[in-house]
Subunit: 185 residues, 2 copies
Amino acid sequence: MSRWQPNARGRLRQAAFELYGERGFDQTTVAQIAERAGLTERTFYRHFTDKREVVFSGEVHRVLVETVADAPASMTAIEAVTAALGAAGAVLDERRELTRRRQAVIAANPGLQEREQIKYATLADDLAEALRGRGVEPTPAHLAADAGVAVFRAAFERWIDEHEHRDFGRIVRDTLDELAEVISG
Amino acid sequence: MSRWQPNARGRLRQAAFELYGERGFDQTTVAQIAERAGLTERTFYRHFTDKREVVFSGEVHRVLVETVADAPASMTAIEAVTAALGAAGAVLDERRELTRRRQAVIAANPGLQEREQIKYATLADDLAEALRGRGVEPTPAHLAADAGVAVFRAAFERWIDEHEHRDFGRIVRDTLDELAEVISG
């Protein structure tokens, strides 16, 4: 029924973030995103449920949760979480500029900021669930998951800075060391 | 203009949680809460902005943030956060039954659950800000704040269980030890 569009998803995402930056998220329509990408609205809806899903597509979330679930059984909870942060970093490092643009869009919109907080809470729950699936007890599972999200957020905050050139995995390792130091007081 | 009502706030809160439990949060009106408490709607609005604010009155939040801000300068970030968790625990231990009822209301309502996640995110930000005010650098401030909220949540989860009889401060200390263990792998 429709022709295959090479990298339609990537073109739609690129167009969406351009428009969110230029006009604001609330003022941008799906029709405008499709037009900017040179695609149809129907193609947009084949890739995303709505314009908010372009911002929260959940790819990093999936990588984090799957890596914890699939980590070797010999790994402790925090080792599995650390491996997951490294895997997520590989995804992020490939799209540093796009991710900076994305964060600027979220920072400009209180509704998106609330949504981002909810997404982080859901991520912590899903990571805890994945750890439970590895046989970790409920409290340590939640603590390791929350520690992982705390390290992710602090590392992300540094990584997104335009003066920061270390890769995500490196920043994660340094931040995890800092967390250990902070907790030991 | 109006007579002073002894413990109006407490009576309204008690009535609200009874009704939220009996009828559901969405189905309860402010008029019903006031009637159950034997007070007027006007009195309700002198104490709460709306029926959701009865659930999220922010008293524990205030105690946590103020205790961090006012902790002796000699305390490290995690010591100030631990002191705050102890102070919040004193408030919680006084209202264990009411808090159990409150959590059951939140658990039954997805909108309130989202609001609770946002409140925890705001708490983490406010604790980090209070630590920044003590001269703690941004990353350790966020890590100590996030660790504090993680410990609070895990301790709260245990404390709210009807078979749990330890006080909140005791559970916090045990949970903090567990977090240190989890992070050291």
